[in-house]
Amino acid sequence: MNNSLIHQTFKITKSENRPALLTYTVAGDNTKKKSLEILKSISKYADICELGFPHNTPIADGGQIQTSAYRAIKNGIKINDVFLIAAKFKKLKKDKPIILMGYYNMIYQYNENKFIKKCQKSKVDGLIVVDLPFPENKTFAKKCKKKNINFIQLISPTTSKTRLKQIIKNSHDMIYYISMLSTTGGKLKVSPKKILEEYSKIKKQNLSKNVVIGFGITEKTIKSLKKADGLVVGSAICKEITNSIKKRQNTVTNVTNVVKRLKNKIK
């Protein structure tokens, strides 16, 4: 899959000697229209956009993303709207990779094959399924690959060495390293040095894989992890949406400013 847009994007950021900035927002937060506007606006600074399809029983998400997900569901987001948002975004920004992220039950109910087809049609570049770990995800990942969709494997500090090797072997262009034992949005409780040490262990296995780090990354911590191929910020963005709504301020402007500042820190 070396020609994938995701891989190309990492090539560019590497040539610029900086990590890729990946953002995570929830589709439909706080409305369908607004979430597309936010996506369009932040993609000026983000290299890859992750778009969450919200689930109401998210077992790996912390408070900020839960709040965003509940808000989006309350405002009526449906899975087909998520595809619509992705497609509209890709129409305008065809060179910007978009990754859908969510929980397996939504895919299961939609039907795996239909879901992947719909991803392809909407020009989705990658998929992260939080609760479909390796090796249970092997068949699904293969199906994705066939349709040129990157299935993104996750690795955590608890992943054993043998498992690590197998996961990397079965991964596509991008691997997501979870920085610490936490749900999304936790306070970074491990030193950046330690995180980068673990990160190097993954990189050493196969240098051609693009490894991004996520969980606990904020404006405060992002600079310290700059050596990675890519860095994911989610909860900090969702939190800004919540705060902007509370203060009755413009969510698009405020969130864009956060992403802009994040980008400046790792340039």
């Binding site: 077992i59 039950n105 939609y110 770990p133 390796f134 955590s156 608890t158 979870i178 034992l181 749900t183």
Partner: protein
């Protein structure tokens, strides 16, 4: 899909943890893979270890208080006419419900794994209360996750948990009931799995938790089997084992020794929570034909919408108020070994009234659902039919609800 004979049901899964090829599994975030693998290896070792079994049996006997009694409900039987109604009074167990078996085993496993902290979820508060008791007994620090709505409606159990030194973490997300408590507990474990052991309060969750819980509650049917032989000299010809089903831990425990029997001889009847009579909401995924979905790390029948969003549930009984159900019950349903039905809030309340009027028994709202079914079917059955209800919880915890609904407790 077929049941195997002479193999405990909890072990009849494939290498990915699925019963019948599609129920169960372990749909978990990567971070939990290792702790769950460690737990699986440890548990498989422990259950083969004679010393561990001895320890378990010692605590079951001297701490839980085994065996719980098996009694005939003479007055209720003659009032209804028809089948004989018996009760396995599991609520006599230490703490007042079957949840003590799972809690005790988890505390023993936690100790064996060298962990000092134990966390668990609770709906009716029994799983939480028992875990707090076991934690205290074995010197573990304990946190219990409980929906804010449940904290309000099950106050007596909350008082007990606090008295045992456990910290109750109120969960305000979603419907603020058991489903959210389980989610929050799993999230906590994701963040603290290096030093903390998690106890799932029923036969739900990732494969290994279904197994540990089922292995623990199976004590109920081991006792019942010998009590039946003792009482009737041989296995009676027609038995109906009636049990309420929320997650399904007491039902599995009540049935496990009897699954290999022909269903014409021993029928297994599970009673889910039908919710208020006039409400669309319920907690009965098996008997009201919910679709298969993934909830809390396992595939089972789940109350959900077309998109896969989990439905809110409604039941007078906090212990049954859960949108999913154990994968092993889905397996028993699809193989047609067990029959599942539901009782409404009103039927459960009426059953409670009738049972307490005729018998010296005080079943909580959960087993009152099972009694409702027994009361419904007994008059139509022969005198030789032995209907046994698992009276798996004591109504003390329900006193506020019973007072409000019946005017007295």
């Amino acid at each position: 899909m077929k049941l195997k004979k002479n193999v405990p049901l909890i072990d009849q899964h494939d290498k990915y943890g699925f019963w019948g090829g599609k129920f169960g599994g372990s749909f978990i975030p990567e971070t939990l893979k290792k702790p769950i693998e460690d737990l699986t290896i440890k548990f498989e070792k422990l259950r083969k270890n004679k010393k561990f079994i001895k320890k378990r049996d010692f605590y079951f006997q001297n701490y839980v208080g085994s065996p719980t009694s098996f009694v005939k409900l003479e007055n209720l039987s003659s009032h209804l006419g028809g089948a004989q109604i018996w009760a396995k009074v599991v609520s006599e167990a230490n703490g007042g419900a079957h949840k003590i078996y799972n809690a005790t085993v988890h505390a023993l496993i936690c100790k064996a794994m060298g962990k000092k902290y134990i966390v668990g979820d609770t709906g009716a508060g029994y799983a939480g209360k028992m875990l707090s008791m076991a934690a205290k007994k074995f010197g573990l620090k304990c946190k219990i996750f409980m929906g804010a709505k449940d904290i309000q409606r099950q106050k007596p159990n909350c008082d007990a948990m606090r008295k045992n030194g456990a910290v109750i973490v109120p969960v305000y997300s979603g419907s603020q009931t058991l489903v959210d408590a389980v989610s929050e507990c799993m999230r906590y474990w994701v963040s603290n799995c290096d030093n903390t052991h998690m106890c799932v309060g029923s036969t739900v969750g990732p494969n290994i938790f279904v197994k540990i819980c089922g292995w623990s509650t199976a004590q109920i049917s081991r006792e019942l089997k010998s009590q039946l032989i003792e009482e009737f000299k041989k296995m009676p010809k027609i038995i109906k084992l009636i049990n309420c089903v929320g997650g399904g831990s007491s039902a599995y425990g009540f049935w496990s020794e009897f699954i290999d029997y022909n269903k014409k001889q021993i029928e297994l009847i599970g009673v889910e929570a039908g919710g208020p009579k006039n409400s669309k909401l319920h907690a009965a995924p098996l008997s009201r034909n919910a679709k298969i979905g993934i909830l809390h790390g396992a595939a089972s029948y789940v109350c959900q919408n077309n998109e896969g969003q989990i439905h809110e549930t409604e039941s007078i009984s906090a212990g049954l108020d859960y949108p999913g159900v154990s994968p092993i019950h889905c397996f028993l349903k699809d193989t047609k070994r067990a029959r599942y039905t539901f009782a409404t809030d009103e039927e459960a309340l009426n059953a409670y009234k009738l049972v307490t009027k005729f018998e010296k028994l005080n079943p909580s709202l959960e087993p009152s659902h099972a009694f409702a079914e027994a009361i419904k079917i007994a008059p139509k059955l022969s005198k030789e039919t032995i209907c046994i209800v698992n009276s798996c919880g004591d109504a003390k915890k329900d006193r506020d609800i019973l007072k409000a609904r019946l005017g007295k407790y």
